[in-house]
């Protein structure tokens, strides 16, 4: 252990030094004279997490320590860690961004992320704690054929984690690049190495504490910003909102989004429209489908399920979900203010100019509220939020890598290759560490290879697979007497294939033919549009002229994009899957793939026979409800 601890310290120090050196040299968004602030805040956050890993490394002796922190985490700690694991950059920066750009729809989007935890709380968390040990497949293998269910379970866990991981690595790389100005490849590498050093040396203990620290920093930063944004309005919600929608920048944004429909609307009507649905979500069924994937998918996310094995009892598991819901929900309520505050103070146009997805809304608001780009406090706030965003990516990635590595080492290597026979504890920990290095290296490689790809769809896909394969299997094996091996194998395979397959033929992919057709339409209409703009310019009416000059900018942009698209897709007619147009119209497959996943488990179970699954039902049901013999915190 002495050796490992020393190694941790060395790696940690090296990582901290190299990152801070990179940050110091980088062309940051902070003004030159304040670069040392960014440097200092990043160094402080990294050194803090490294110190924790150093302390944690001494405590990781067994496989149980590595995978589940020996079951010794309390409910409150686990609640913060779940929040830290769950509030990825996509929800932390992305939702504030969506609200700042699209108003109401962005806020509505955040609701599903919280409601998801009701499913976890009522149906999944406590039984998992009572039945499981380290992984999702432990639950499936309890009454079903351990070999078969571990193979399909591990494959599904690795699939979900890889989708989610790729999205996080690519998103993280872009984000770190935007926030502190270092190269994309370097960002991915730094995130990967830092995450690997936490997981490799500190296992679940270090991962948990990194997630807790990140969640605390995130909430603290948000509370501070919201206080600064909201105080001038005497903490009145209607007064704040009225000021937001009375802002010309917000009204101009709504006018741009609505296009021709905005022609006859007054500024006040445009502002009010920002608080009404429909600016972002155009297809209601799509949104319901996405809602289903969120509400049922969270309960099937391996890195979230794994967190329930870190607490000693079902009561603590329950307590941890309630805390997580308070923290996550509270955070999304704060996001309401972050998003609308950014729209009012920074302006949707300025936010979209830095990042089209709105990811920079939170950081830009922090900088503004601290006093702007030329003040110490403004740069301190920007650096602080950037450091929190960085910690967020690392913490989420660490949780995902641990989940994938446990499926590889515990389910496939110990469970399947060694047939579940007792593998020496030292060897189990070594297997876990080797798997961690494999998954971590893979994450870095995929992250770099997927540079420039649109990966947002991968997060939706991870939730869809979790909801269509993992969730039906876990739920039915815990609650349905007839459920058996055939059902689990069928559900895992059909649920996954269905979710992935439907996504591959969905509108999420790029269809060159359609893109080119749209581009031609823009170019064909250009002459007529220029003529009408010119006419407006000569009309002498100030309002019409202002509109016309805005139209010119938009038209120039559209023409440039159309020409770019035509060049990019020259000679291409079909999508990656060889299709000219989507076969399936929904962006999220949940509405179809979730019922199909359930149906597969049910039909498979009814068609198959499995004596063990029947015999073990009494034990599974008694255990999941009473916690008899549930493994308590490991004592050394």
């Amino acid at each position: 252990m002495q050796l490992t601890t020393k190694k941790t310290a060395l790696v940690g120090l090296a990582a901290a030094l190299s990152l801070t050196a990179i940050v110091a040299r980088a062309d940051t968004s902070a003004a030159g004279e304040y670069r040392w602030v960014t440097f200092a805040v990043f160094a402080a956050v990294i050194l803090l997490t490294m110190y924790i890993t150093y302390v944690a490394a001494k405590r990781v002796k067994s496989a149980s320590d590595f995978y589940t922190a020996g079951g010794g985490i309390t409910g409150l700690q686990n609640g913060w860690a779940i929040a830290g694991d769950y509030l990825s950059a996509a929800s932390f920066l992305g939702i504030a961004g969506l609200i700042s750009l699209y108003g109401y729809d962005g806020f509505m989007y955040s609701v599903g992320w919280l409601v998801a935890y009701i499913t976890v709380l009522l149906l999944i968390a406590e039984p998992c704690r009572n039945i499981g040990k380290y992984t999702l497949s432990d639950i499936l293998a309890y009454r079903n054929d351990p070999r078969k269910t571990r193979i399909v379970g591990a494959l599904s866990v690795i699939t979900v984690s890889t989708f989610y991981l790729t999205a996080q690595m690519v998103g993280g790389g872009v984000l770190v690049k935007t926030l502190i100005g270092i190269d994309y490849e370097v960002s991915v590498l730094v995130v990967g190495i830092l995450m690997l050093s936490y997981v490799l040396f500190g296992g679940m203990v270090a991962t948990t504490w990194v997630q807790i620290i990140k969640a605390v920093l995130l909430v603290a930063a948000s509370v501070l910003i919201v206080m600064l944004v909201w105080t001038p309005y005497g903490f009145s919600l209607p007064a704040f909102m009225a000021d937001v929608i009375g802002d010309a920048k917000v009204q101009a944004r709504v006018a741009t989004l609505l296009g021709d429909a905005a022609k006859n609307m007054t500024p006040a009507e445009l502002g009010q429209r920002f608080l009404e649905p429909g600016l972002y979500f155009k297809a209601p069924v799509d949104q319901i489908s996405l809602g289903m994937a969120l509400v049922f998918g969270t309960a099937g996310l391996p890195h979230i399920l794994m967190r329930f094995f870190t607490v000693p009892t079902a009561q603590q598991a329950r307590k941890s979900v309630v805390w997580a819901m308070v923290i996550i929900g509270g955070f999304y309520v704060l996001t309401l203010f972050l998003g609308f505050g950014a729209a009012k103070l920074v302006g949707p146009g300025n936010i979209a100019a830095v990042d089209a997805g709105g990811n920079m809304a939170g950081p830009l608001l922090a900088q503004f509220i601290g006093g702007g780009p030329n003040s110490f406090f403004g740069n301190f706030m920007l650096a602080f939020v950037s450091a929190v965003a960085f910690a967020t990516i690392v913490a989420v990635v660490a949780g995902l890598v641990l989940a994938a590595a446990s499926a590889m080492a515990h389910d496939l290597w110990v469970g399947v290759v060694h047939g579940g026979e007792t593998v020496a504890p030292q060897q189990q920990v070594r297997a876990a560490r080797i798997a961690t290095v494999i998954v971590g290296a893979m994450a870095i490689a995929i992250g770099i290879a997927a540079k420039g790809q649109n990966v947002a769809v991968l997060v939706a896909l991870a939730f869809a697979v979790a909801a269509s394969a993992n969730f039906p299997c876990v739920l039915l094996t815990l609650y349905w007497k007839r459920c058996n091996t055939t059902g689990i194998v069928a559900g895992m395979i059909i649920g996954t294939v269905c979710a992935v397959g439907l996504t591959l033929v969905s509108p999420n992919l790029t269809y060159p033919k359609a893109v080119k057709a749209a581009a031609h339409k823009v170019l064909d209409g250009e002459v007529a549009k220029r003529a009408s703009i010119a006419a407006a310019m000569e009309s002498g009416d100030a309002a019409r002229m202002a509109l016309a000059s805005r139209d010119t900018i938009n038209l120039d942009k559209a023409v440039k994009k159309a020409n770019g698209d035509l060049k990019k897709f020259e000679g291409q007619e079909t999508s990656f899957m060889g299709l000219e147009k989507p076969l399936f119209e929904l962006k999220n497959p949940g509405l179809f793939s979730i019922p199909i996943g359930f149906l597969a488990v049910i039909l498979g179970s009814l068609l198959g026979r499995d004596k063990r699954a029947e015999d073990m039902w009494d034990e599974v049901y008694a255990r999941q409800n009473t916690g008899i013999l549930a493994s308590k915190a490991t004592t050394h």
Binding site: Y117, I118, P284, A622, L629
Partner: protein
């Protein structure tokens, strides 16, 4: 500690206290689950098909849609707190009683 095969699991299931726990939990959990799912999906359905209702201003510039979205948070928290209250009060006591009894019978 008692071993898994030393406990008569069929007897646990047949125990009247377990049956009581099972009945209480089943009705309570699935009822609460159904309510929360329906309440959640009212939001996207309302935003899509009842836009006129969602646009009615209620509190200053705040409209029905915004207040309804905020109520989702309050309802989610209320469900979580209500569930833990009932579980801490009823389910845990029954579960602990059954567990202690059967582990003792198995000679643990």
């Amino acid at each position: 500690m008692a071993k898994s095969d030393s406990i008569d699991w069929a007897a646990v299931i047949a125990d009247p206290r377990f049956q009581q726990l099972h009945r209480k939990k089943t009705a309570f959990l699935w009822g609460l689950m159904a309510f929360s799912v329906i309440y959640y999906f009212l939001l996207p359905v309302g935003a899509a098909y009842y836009q006129d209702l969602f646009k009615i201003k209620v509190w200053g510039v705040l409209n029905v849609g915004l207040l309804f979205a905020l109520s989702e948070f309050v309802v989610a928290w209320a469900i979580a707190l209500y569930y833990s209250h009932v579980a801490n009060r009823d389910f845990d006591r029954l579960a602990a009683e059954i567990a202690a009894d059967f582990v003792k019978r198995a000679g643990g």
